[in-house]
């Protein structure tokens, strides 16, 4: 399929599109800035295997090059199960290119972020303003010449340039403007929505994010590949291990390193356990927002048992930092497998069943959530939805089945799919996914192979401590690895895993040194939250609360 795409692109666009070498088997093309929109439209609207999912748009800064900036697009075709990358080089003095927000609605916020962090301007973008940094910020922090500790203070909270309509101010109009958040119970502390209300009906809802922007990407550029792992914990902090695995997988692809089967199965087990605890938090928080307070305690009670397992594995409950490049912090301790079995057979099903009994057929809950915040499958895909929110719309897209990694194709599990994409379906999909995850963990525990869990590559994986203390060669190797760091070959990779919220992608650019040149995280909830205005307008305030809770917006991942 790669050749076919390359051929058709060359036929149609000639020199504007140039294929780039297929590093690690990935398909990339360099596209001229003035043709990017046409190329995107062509790819998005192909008859066969259209690239209907825009996964990511980001910027990269190459100050040594003539064309300093590069805007990188990652597109995915669900039917063709193919991903391609488009790279658009831009001049330093005129980093302008057309926006593709008209083709994929998902591009909206991704382009705003590229503008915010790099200063790349997108012509035709509906609302090109800062998204992660605050209004008073000067400069573009991810540029290589921006010093990492240069701060700008914000004096007072702003309305990010949004003008209150004249009618609301004089009180003659029929609507009020309500500021929801960020210090608001439903907003989980970090989301802000400016809502124009008529009575209780929402006429317009504008979300603002960036309240937990912590500079993950800039910080990662200062650290070594291994040192980035603790930072990844704090992305989606309710299912931290999935981020560890996603990042480790990306670096391992960069290194072309395969980890042994035991390591893979361990990663599957911890990913599925993390998925379960993520869904438990989402459901608990969503139900608390709806007034059903008790399931919160039931969900968290059984989450503690999973935390005990994780703590036994790596010493930490939440910020686990468990994976290493090519390896893991420790192997499974003795008795862990039996404990895990007990948890997944007795504890977790208990809380899922209790919540099911209390809530799923409760008339009040069904009335509050059915038909609320629904979105069609095509529109959801256009917005860049992935994960349970997309599956609730009816599209059975799951990377574990579409692009199986770590032997997921050998496990027997179902992919729950909803009908209407409304809040009720998202809830049901998550409940069922937890049950499916339990099945996967059971099968993985049964099939857990013996053997090493770490790859046998001395340039990447630290030697065993016993050998370091007893053998000179191992000591030297250990020292070299710590001081020099892991040195991957220059190149770019993008890997994606099916995280709890959807497709979690890591785009890593390596320049051959021990520091990653660029790491871009593709957060699943970033694309989903963009659709908030579309989901809530016309509904009531109480519906907004229900919808935001069901989308599972985790600020650590959203804002990075």
């Amino acid at each position: 399929m790669t050749d076919e795409i390359a051929r058709t692109l060359q036929e149609k666009f000639g020199d504007a599109v140039t294929p780039v070498d297929g590093f690690r088997g990935e398909t990339s093309f360099t596209v001229d800035a003035d043709r990017i929109k046409a190329v995107s439209r062509f790819l998005a609207e192909r008859r066969d295997n259209a690239f209907d999912l825009l996964e990511d748009i980001c910027g990269v800064d190459y100050p040594d090059r003539e064309k300093r900036f590069e805007t990188v697009y990652h597109l995915y075709s669900l039917r063709g199960k193919k991903r391609i990358r488009l790279r658009v080089p831009l001049n330093a003095d005129h980093p302008v290119l057309p926006s593709v927000a008209g083709i994929w609605k998902a591009a909206d916020w991704f382009e705003r972020e590229a503008f915010d962090q790099y200063g790349i301007r997108f012509q035709g973008h509906p609302n090109l303003r800062r998204i992660l940094n605050h209004e008073a910020f000067v400069g573009h922090p991810l540029r290589k010449d921006y010093p990492i500790t240069r701060r700008h203070k914000l004096a007072a909270p702003t309305n990010f340039g949004w003008e209150e309509p004249a009618e609301a101010r004089t009180g003659d109009g029929e609507f009020t403007v309500l500021n929801i958040g960020p210090a608001h119970p439903t907003m989980h502390g970090t989301l802000r929505i400016l809502a124009r209300l008529q009575g209780e009906t929402i006429l317009q809802a504008i979300p603002e994010i960036g309240y937990l922007h912590r500079g993950f990407e800039k910080t990662a550029e200062q650290l070594t590949y291994q040192q980035v792992i603790p930072l990844t914990d704090r992305l989606n902090y309710v299912s931290a291990m999935m981020n560890n695995v996603g990042y480790a997988m990306a670096v391992e692809k960069l290194l072309d390193l395969a980890i042994p089967k035991r390591g893979q199965y361990i990663r599957v087990i911890i990913c599925e356990l993390s998925r379960i605890i993520d869904h438990l938090v989402c459901i608990a928080a969503n139900l608390v927002d709806l007034g059903a307070l008790t399931p919160y305690w039931y969900c968290f009670r059984d989450r503690e048992y999973v935390y005990d397992l994780l703590e036994a594995l790596c010493g930490a409950r939440l910020t686990t930092s468990y994976t290493r490049i090519g390896s893991h912090a420790h192997d499974l301790p003795e008795g862990w497998v039996e404990r895990c079995r007990q948890v997944i057979r007795e504890r977790i099903p208990r809380s899922i069943d209790e919540v099911e009994k209390l809530i799923t057929h409760n008339r009040i809950f069904v009335d509050r959530t059915q038909g609320v915040g629904g979105i069609s499958a095509q529109e959801a895909l256009n917005f860049g939805f992935t994960g349970p929110c997309l599956r609730a719309c009816g599209i059975p897209f799951d990377l574990r089945a579409a692009e199986p990694y770590y032997d997921y194709d050998k496990f027997d599990f179902d992919i729950p799919v909803g009908n209407n994409g409304d809040t009720y379906d998202r809830y049901l999909v998550r409940m069922e996914e937890m049950r499916q995850s339990l099945r996967i963990v059971e099968q993985a525990l049964d099939g857990l192979p013996e053997g090493p869990h770490k790859a046998a590559d001395r340039r990447v994986v630290l030697p065993e401590k016993e050998r370091v203390y007893t053998r000179f060669g191992a000591l030297v190797g250990h020292t070299k690895l710590i001081l020099d760091g892991i040195l991957p070959p220059p190149g770019q990779v993008y890997t994606a895993t099916e995280a709890a919220n959807g497709v979690l992608g890591f785009y890593i650019v390596s320049d051959g040194t021990k520091h990653p040149y660029r790491i871009k995280v593709r957060p699943p909830c970033f694309a989903i939250y963009q659709a908030l205005a579309r989901l809530t307008e016309g509904n009531m305030l109480a519906d907004l609360i229900a919808i935001v809770g069901s989308l599972n917006i985790i600020a650590g991942e959203l804002d990075r």
Partner: protein, 166 residues
């Protein structure tokens, strides 16, 4: 009502000691938290409010979402420069007497983030009474922090300058 009465009573030590004892007793056992949770530490706070650790045993279960009704501001998680004015505003809105817990390394000092967008400790914005280090601190550490606040409250008096209502 409360602070004016205190002014009158503060002159006499015989009166202030039992009054202090009563007032401190009721304040320390009924600390209503305002959970200003932004990041990972907020998830640990939620775990503390859950049944395994159960913050309500200490009387602190009534998590009020209105700053006017809260006593204890628990800042859990990193505060970004964008969030800083919001934190200050909420702190100002909380009615006296109030205490602040910096929960987690990011709130104490910026944690592992020292870059263009993070505040290096909330004590650059608001006064802090108890610092709980950890990334995230274990739930027991948060409970210990609340007990420390209770001890601080026990040691207060209506003759302290902050209660004089001057």
């Amino acid at each position: 009502m409360g602070l004016e009465t205190a002014k009158i009573l503060r002159s006499s030590d015989l009166v202030t000691r039992p009054v202090d004892a009563i007032i401190n007793w009721c304040r320390e056992y009924s600390l209503w938290p305002y959970a200003f949770g932004t990041a990972c530490c907020a998830i640990e706070f939620m775990a503390v409010a859950a049944s395994h650790y159960d913050i309500s045993r200490f009387g602190a279960e009534v998590i009020r979402f209105s700053p006017r009704q809260a006593d204890l501001l628990i800042v859990s998680g990193t505060i970004s420069e964008k969030m800083a004015p919001v934190l200050k505003k909420i702190y100002d809105q909380i009615c006296d007497p109030k205490w602040v817990i910096a929960h987690g390394a990011c709130a104490c000092s910026g944690g592992i983030y020292n870059n263009y967008c993070t505040v290096q400790g909330i004590d650059t914005l608001i006064p802090v009474d108890v610092y709980i280090p950890g990334c995230p601190p274990t739930p027991e550490a948060l409970l210990d922090g609340i007990i420390q606040i209770q001890k601080i409250v026990e040691g207060e008096s209506i003759r302290d300058p902050k209660y004089r209502g001057d």
